[in-house]
């Protein structure tokens, strides 16, 4: 990406993305280890193992990105894009590991999509949101057994899109306000220079 404005958007948006990812990792680990059903079963053991490995990998990746931010050296754009794709994949893997439609982990798509929508360009936000919607729909489709289930899934998909849309709309509004502010500053500076 060569546009400096877009790179700056991405760099500053990374603060939100990294924070959202820490929330996912911390909440995900606590909730995965807090086993409430069939603590002695092999299936539960496998679910906890998968969650632990996946979330730990994500934590290491996020630690690297966080270090870059602390050094005021945001990571390469391609790393940021890859890490956000990994967030969506991890959430989808956890949902699949926990039984698809019955899993409650899908709500972690909301902070992830929010972070993506305020950090990335419009086309990237559309691609990531579409990916999340398709990934979730394909993961839970086998578990749909009634009309109510269908309504539930469609409502979730619409809300995924709504969160990404609203986040990116704010991103665009602020982009315009900042541009206008910069213009106003230039005009003021020019007027002062003519005096």
């Amino acid at each position: 990406m060569s546009d400096p404005q877009a790179s700056e958007d991405l760099a500053l948006g990374q603060y939100v993305v990294v924070t959202a990812r820490w929330i996912l990792v911390a909440a995900g680990l606590v909730l995965s280890l807090w086993v409430t059903t069939d603590p002695g079963s092999q299936r539960t053991l496998q679910q906890v193992q998968i969650s632990f490995v996946v979330l730990t990998l994500l934590a290491f990746g996020n630690f690297y990105l966080n270090l870059q931010l602390l050094r005021k050296r945001p990571a390469l754009d391609v790393v940021a894009y890859g890490a956000s794709a990994a967030d969506l994949i991890v959430i989808t893997v956890l949902i699949a590991a926990q039984g698809g439609l019955t899993s409650n982990v899908y709500i972690f798509y909301f902070p992830a999509l929010l972070a993506i929508s305020v950090a990335f360009s419009r086309s990237s936000t559309v691609v990531y949101t579409a990916f999340a919607i398709l990934a979730y729909a394909s993961t839970v489709s086998a578990g749909i057994a009634s009309t109510f289930d269908s309504q539930t899934v469609v409502t979730r998909l619409v809300m995924f899109a709504a969160v990404a849309f609203c986040g990116h709309m704010y991103f665009a509004i602020e982009h315009d306000r900042r541009r206008d502010a910069a213009r106003a500053r230039e005009q003021t500076t020019a007027a002062l220079g003519q005096r």
């Binding site: 909440a27 050296r73 306000r177």
Partner: protein, 206 residues
């Protein structure tokens, strides 16, 4: 350079420009409402009641969107009251919508776009209060309705939902602060001391 605007003026500008996000969040929820009303109707009485509710929301949002388009957006008080009304509507849907109610209702996710949009537009304290109000309303309606018990599974699920609702509000507020500092920087005004070290770019980038 010294900013000639007061914090109140800056907050009013945030609401002036940002309320479109809240309006669109409401359109998304209305779209879901239309879908559910058309899809889930079991008898004519329920269908009629639900249609009246959805149409009322649509009329209100048409008015707000129209006023915004005519560059006559609502003030802070109106936006706050209408946003609280949004929370009340979602809480009523969670409590009474046919199918599953209370803790078992899947429609608590309608809170997310409202919390996001409000927190992107309002200052931190107001946004935090709104997020807390949404979480409190949801926890109340979940725990008081039949079907919820204090089993570890229910408590865990409720906690997970509360965490993500809070995270949505918190992340939106965090981004709001980053954007406010960027705007101030574009105007040549110093950013707030509290956020400057965390959101400042290196000289090479800026």
């Amino acid at each position: 350079m010294q900013d000639i605007r007061t914090p109140e003026q800056e907050a009013a500008e945030d609401i002036f420009f940002g309320q479109l996000v809240i309006i669109w969040a409401r359109w998304a929820v209305i779209a879901v409402g239309i879908m559910l009303v058309a899809w889930a109707a079991s008898d004519l009485g329920t269908l009629t009641l639900n249609i009246v509710l959805v149409v009322a929301l649509m009329v209100m949002n048409f008015f707000l969107h129209g006023a915004y388009t005519l560059e006559k957006p609502q003030n802070r008080g109106v936006v706050t009251v209408v946003s609280l009304l949004d929370l009340a509507v979602v809480t009523l849907i969670v409590a009474f919508w046919p199918g599953k109610q209370g803790f078992a209702s899947p429609f608590f996710i309608l809170y997310y776009p409202f919390i996001l949009a409000f927190s992107l537009v309002f200052p931190r304290r107001v946004a935090a209060l709104y997020t807390l109000a949404a979480i409190a309303a949801y926890v109340a309606v979940s725990t008081l309705a039949p079907g919820f018990d204090l089993s570890a599974e229910h408590v865990k699920t409720l906690l997970m939902r509360a965490i993500t609702l809070a995270a949505t509000g918190g992340l939106a507020t965090y981004y709001w602060r980053i954007q406010r500092d960027r705007r101030r920087a574009a105007l040549g005004v110093s950013p707030t001391r509290a956020t400057a070290p965390k959101t400042k770019l290196s000289p090479a980038q800026s």
